[in-house]
């Protein structure tokens, strides 16, 4: 089944499903800093005109959490709980993303691999995918859904 990105311009979708995707990033030709997502003006030295580069697909877990409630008490039966992490790429950027795995699967400093997860099927029958990170040992084709949390939350404030 064809795969399409939830939003163009952020990651690659390899033709071979066994191949890891890459993130679409930028590199400043003046100071060498890398960024994700792509940007025109360098955030560090303000040079105008960053170069397109591919980032990843590996990184190290800087920090993580396991979320036991859906988004703002969202009524989406398919996801009750999920891991979230910040992953440091070797090039420098720190990427915030959903993690594949259960509540006891993560440890700060562990190596993770970029991966694509199907969110839904669109009207043309394409799989709509988003990037996530997974432990390198996880079998790509047999990933378990995140396990269900104990209860759903009905409150849950927190404007960041």
């Amino acid at each position: 089944m064809p795969r399409v990105a939830i939003e163009d311009g952020y990651f690659t979708i390899p033709d071979d499903p066994g191949e890891a995707p890459r993130l679409l990033g930028s590199r400043c030709p003046a100071c060498g800093e890398h960024f994700f997502p792509r940007r025109m003006v360098c955030a560090k030295c303000l040079h105008e005109g960053c170069d397109d580069v591919l980032l990843g697909p590996t990184g190290r877990l800087y920090t993580w959490t396991f979320v036991h409630v859906p988004l703002f008490a969202k009524k989406d039966g398919s996801v009750d709980a999920y891991g979230v992490g910040q992953v440091d790429l070797p090039e420098g950027p720190r990427i915030q993303a959903i993690l594949v795995g259960g509540p006891d699967d993560f440890e700060i400093g562990m190596e993770l691999m970029l991966d694509l997860e199907t969110l839904r099927t669109n009207s043309r029958g394409d799989d709509v995918v988003i990037y996530r990170f997974r432990p390198p040992t996880t079998n790509v084709s047999e990933r378990p859904r995140p396990v269900a949390g104990p209860e759903r939350s009905q409150t849950l404030g927190g404007q960041p």
């Binding site: 959490t65 915030q96 849950l156 404030g157 927190g158 404007q159």
Partner: protein, 385 residues
């Protein structure tokens, strides 16, 4: 920036909570009238107004202002995420300090319960869709997990801060959460896990509410309120993120911790004061672990020493530097825009010596801190005569 020649003329707020049957305009009207009454004036005496809210509907600020009267005064809308209220206050204080206005109003309102309900169906499009796939609680939990890794912090520390703020809320008539018993660390830890290690009782509620602060020239306040203890804003600093390696661009993140440290330093420098000169502090405790970080970033102890400060009871009422004496975002509540003006409300009540059971003895100076959207930070210092 240093603020000279401005003082607080009036304060008012609507107790935060669920106000499903009331419009934002009504909430704003009641907070505005309370502040005008506290100042002993009507809208005719106000030269300029700054209206803050997060809820994204164009011009609802000016519509709310009309509930207080139509006098032709200049009205400016302000939105800086969770920092909105304090930034509206900063503009009102600066309007007076600059001499452009003799009396200025900062007013803010929001219905976060509407936003919480609405977001279930509207996750945005394009980049917003990527930004909104993760629950806000997760961002703060990521920070908490890293702290546990770096400093050996325990969930009990976060729970102790939450319990303290719930119990402070019990002493504040304007607090949303007013527990009828002493909240314990065990009770906080046993509440529902939201995003490990943060439990539901470590998080602020979703609130509706409004608050208003009226600022006037020091001469005006002394002339109109000769028998009241004068409370003055003395410095206000506002910063956005400065780039540092490892910056996370995509997703509404907590923002670099250094942003609070930088903003606080600027405020202290402008006032010619330091953390030791403060008698109470209010900070952005949407989640309990934030308060622990801000003990250090606001300069009240060294890095990695926040747990000791907490364990000594220094940040509870009766301690050396009580934090979130009104219950903080966790208990008093966090509607969004009005939150910062509720902080000013509490500092003014404390510095006037009118805080009753939660009065900080001899309080003469206070600090109010907020971050917004992980992208802005403001620190404001106040002093009484």
């Amino acid at each position: 920036m240093r603020i000279d020649g401005a003082a607080i003329a009036g304060i008012g707020m609507v107790r935060f909570g669920s106000h499903r049957d009331r419009s934002t305009s009504e909430l704003a009207r009641d907070a505005g009238l309370a502040a005008l009454h506290d100042a002993g004036i009507t809208l005719a005496d106000v030269d300029e107004a700054f209206v803050g809210y997060i809820q994204p509907a164009a011009m609802i600020g000016i519509k709310a202002m009309k509930e207080l009267g139509l006098t032709g005064l200049p009205v400016t809308h302000i939105e800086n995420a969770s920092a909105t209220g304090l930034v509206a206050f900063r503009e009102a204080a600066w309007a007076v300090a600059s001499g452009r206005a003799e009396v200025a109003m900062a007013i803010a309102f929001d219905k976060m319960t509407d936003m919480a309900r609405g977001s279930a169906n509207s996750r945005g499009t394009g980049r917003d869709q990527l930004d909104s796939t993760i629950l806000p609680a997760a961002y703060f939990a990521l920070w908490a997990q890293r702290r546990m890794h770096d400093h050996g912090t325990k969930p009990e520390h976060f729970a102790a801060i939450a319990a303290k703020n719930w119990n402070h809320g019990a002493l504040n008539p304007f607090s949303h959460r007013q527990p009828d018993h002493t909240v314990t660390v065990e009770e906080v830890l046993a509440s529902r896990m939201v995003s490990s290690p943060l439990t539901a009782m470590m998080a602020c509620p979703a609130d509706d509410g409004a608050a208003c602060v009226i600022v006037a020239s020091t001469e005006w306040v002394k002339r109109h309120q000769p028998d009241r203890r004068l409370v003055r804003p003395i410095a206000s600093a506002l910063q956005s993120e400065a780039y540092s390696p490892g910056h996370t661009f995509l997703g509404p993140v907590v923002g670099p911790a250094t942003m609070t440290a930088t903003t606080a330093r600027l405020a202290y420098e402008d006032a010619g004061l330091g953390p030791d000169d403060m008698h109470l502090a209010l900070c952005h405790d949407a989640f309990a672990n934030e308060e622990l970080e801000y003990y250090e970033l606001l300069g009240f102890c060294g890095e990695g020493e926040g747990e000791k400060l907490l364990e000594a009871g220094d940040t509870a009422l009766g301690g050396r530097i009580p934090f979130n004496t009104d219950g903080g975002l966790i208990a008093r509540g966090h509607p969004g825009g009005p939150t910062g003006l509720a902080m000013v409300h509490e500092i003014v009540v404390q510095l006037r010596g009118e805080a009753g059971a939660r009065q900080v003895e001899g309080a003469r100076r206070g600090l109010a801190h907020l971050v917004g959207g992980g992208s802005v930070c403001t620190v404001n210092l106040f002093e009484s005569e």
